[in-house]
């Protein structure tokens, strides 16, 4: 049996804020198999960034506090490692690509230095070897004239080029797992498409396991094998791309899909009613219930567990008390609104 690359178990993370305890990640569990590309979507504040920063030990504690959970990466619990041991994994076995490549690169250091330092730190290469590897990486991510870029500074590159540099840094040490957090959000549509092509190509060539965090369902459809929809620090629905997109089982993923221009076809664009959940005083039951037109009384009372949708679709899971296809069929007026 193939071991998962990542196995997150019951991860709960809170922030101690002056206004009270903010529940950012709630009892989150999922696994990621080798070579899999997981697309994570969800509104702002749904805990996407916080849970990956937690597993890399990059969250400021305080205010953050890990209440419970394990993050098994190739069998080792990252949360139990010392900062030293975690340092050896970060950048080497797990590569990270962050949003906004302007602010995520150091403005006063050359591209070459920022690439070399991660290579030299983990691969034990000397300066010349690291430079050669840096040139190779810049070529890999499609940067023209890579050798000349080493001496340049971030402000001398375009946004798309900077994001490619970030990806090169993430891939520098051939990581087992690459995590990209909103890596294409700051880019314009054409550049975004180029970067997505690049990632798809790299994934096929290198077989890297990828977590791709985004607001954009379209990007997930193009890139991911598995989609995971998060809301209020929980997984609402998860499964292979096709069944989730064609037959969503959670009212939240259904709403997200309905608010996609390309998915809405001839209907009006759907607007999710209500406002994002209060994470300091979350509703008692299903966190999406207050905004869910199909919510049942039980939704307001109990938190639904993540369960298998049907035996016929392996891996498709949903956290819902209601049966969405039946509810939609019973209320065509909501579905057509």
């Amino acid at each position: 049996m193939v071991e998962p690359v990542l196995d997150i178990r019951n991860l709960t993370v809170v922030f101690d804020t002056p206004a009270g305890t903010l529940h950012a990640v709630n009892d989150l569990s999922y696994t990621l198999m080798p070579g899999e590309t997981l697309g994570i979507v969800g509104e702002s504040g749904s805990g996407k960034s916080v849970h990956v920063l937690t597993m890399l030990g990059l969250l400021p504690c305080p205010p953050a506090r890990i209440v419970s959970g394990e993050v098994l990466f190739r069998g080792r619990d990252l949360l139990a490692l010392s900062e030293r041991e975690l340092c050896d994994i970060r950048g080497a076995e797990i590569g990270m690509v962050f949003q906004d490549p302007m602010s995520s690169l150091n403005p006063v250091l050359t591209i070459g230095r920022q690439l070399r330092e991660v290579i030299q730190r983990h691969a034990g290469l000397d300066h010349a070897q690291a430079s050669a590897r840096a040139v190779e990486l810049l070529g890999l991510v499609g940067i023209p004239d890579p050798a000349a870029r080493l001496a340049q500074y971030p402000h001398q590159l375009s946004g798309g080029m900077r994001q490619r540099v970030m990806i090169a840094i993430g891939l520098a040490c051939d990581p087992t797992l690459l995590i990209a957090d909103e890596a294409t959000t700051a880019l314009d549509v054409t550049v975004q498409a180029q970067v997505i092509d690049l990632i798809r190509d790299l994934k096929n060539r290198l077989g890297t396991t990828i977590i791709w965090i985004t607001h954009d369902m379209g990007v997930v459809a193009e890139l991911a094998d598995t989609i995971q929809v998060m809301y209020a620090g929980r997984i609402m629905e998860r499964g292979p791309i096709a069944p989730v997109f064609h037959q969503p089982r959670s009212a939240y993923s259904w709403s997200l899909l309905r608010s996609l221009p390309s998915m809405a076809r001839h209907r009006r664009l759907y607007q999710i009613p209500g406002s994002p959940p209060n994470m300091i005083h979350p509703p008692p039951g299903d966190p999406f219930a207050p905004r869910n037109p199909f919510a049942t009384p039980r939704c307001h009372r109990d938190v639904p567990p993540l369960r298998q949708v049907a035996d016929s679709v392996p891996g498709h899971q949903v956290a819902a008390w209601y049966d969405l296809p039946a509810a939609v069929a019973a209320h065509p007026e909501i579905a057509d609104a």
């Binding site: 950048g91 602010s103 995520s104 991660v118």
Partner: protein, 305 residues
């Protein structure tokens, strides 16, 4: 780069000319030096003769042109008091001022950067509170008071160090510490706030996500970036100190340019005032130029503009 240097050199010369001109006219309204140098009850003829020997009987515009023509040759005339070339009198005092300024700057930078960095990296700790309180007090304390207190404790009470004088390393300690406290306080506060700003920036998180050692992250991705604003302040303070720290030099009887300038003003020794101001202005201009160059070396974004 060449064009930048040419432009900045032009600006610097213009600044020095402005200072030299201003000080010429200001000294002329300070008073009539001849009245200070003649005995009580001197005749008008005696005063006129003295004015003539100082060149003060010429029309103001001729005095000014004469003055400028000599200034470009580094000649400020003879000191009324010392009877020697004014520029020599000033330059003799420069080593003392430079020594004090350099020592105080070095001490203040090391102390200020270290404590500011500790305060930022240990934000919210007791250490931060102590450091920032001391820094605030250091900035608020008048230099003359601190100097006098140090003399009282370390010279008068403990007899550890001399209260004043010049020539031996022990003489340097108290005046250097007095100035360094002020410098360190200013630098510590700026270092702390710059580091706190930089800690919030995304690229620090990137550096940590690369698995770099904490020391690498601190020196290359935090301190390196914080250096940019700190350099500016070091330059400003350095210029201030090199002009001669009047109060400290007076309190400790330090034979530097600051004390000389005050004495020259009291005795209306025009040539020395003018030479001292010229030297101080030139030093400040040179330091600013050096800071600008350093700034460009430190921040490539400025180089691009």
């Amino acid at each position: 780069m060449g064009r930048f240097l040419a432009r900045r050199t032009g600006e610097s010369l213009f600044t020095i000319w402005g200072v030299v001109t201003t000080v010429f006219f200001i000294t002329r309204v300070l008073g009539d030096p001849a009245t200070l140098f003649v005995p009580v009850g001197a005749t008008d003829a005696q005063i006129a003769a003295l004015n003539h020997s100082f060149g003060l009987d010429l029309p103001l515009w001729r005095q000014y042109l004469h003055y400028l023509a000599h200034v470009v040759r580094g000649d400020f005339g003879r000191s009324f008091v010392f009877g020697r070339p004014a520029i020599d009198v000033v330059m003799e005092r420069l080593p003392a001022t430079a020594l004090l300024a350099a020592t105080a700057m070095a001490l203040g930078c090391v102390l200020g950067c270290t404590s500011g960095a500790i305060a930022a990296m240990r934000k919210g700790s007791l250490g931060e509170l102590v450091i920032m309180t001391v820094a605030l007090l250091g900035q608020a304390t008048p230099v003359f008071w601190l100097g006098l207190m140090l003399i009282l404790w370390f010279a008068v009470d403990l007899h550890w160090l001399p209260a004043g004088g010049y020539g031996r390393p022990a003489n340097l300690v108290l005046p250097a510490v007095t100035l360094a406290v002020f410098v360190a306080a200013a630098i510590a506060r700026l270092t702390r706030s710059s580091i706190l700003d930089i800690l919030r920036e995304d690229h620090v998180r990137t550096a940590r996500a690369k698995g770099l050692y904490p020391a690498t992250v601190f020196f290359w991705h935090i301190a390196r970036n914080a250096l940019v604003p700190v350099t500016t302040m070091v330059g400003l303070l350095g210029g201030e100190l090199l002009g001669g720290s009047v109060v400290t030099e007076t309190v400790f009887g330090w034979p530097g340019m600051g004390r000389l300038t005050v004495q020259a003003i009291e005795s209306l020794d025009f040539p020395v005032i003018q030479a001292a101001v010229f030297v101080a202005a030139t030093l400040v201009v040179l330091i600013n130029l050096a800071v600008d160059l350093l700034y460009q070396a430190l921040d490539p974004r400025i180089r691009a503009q």
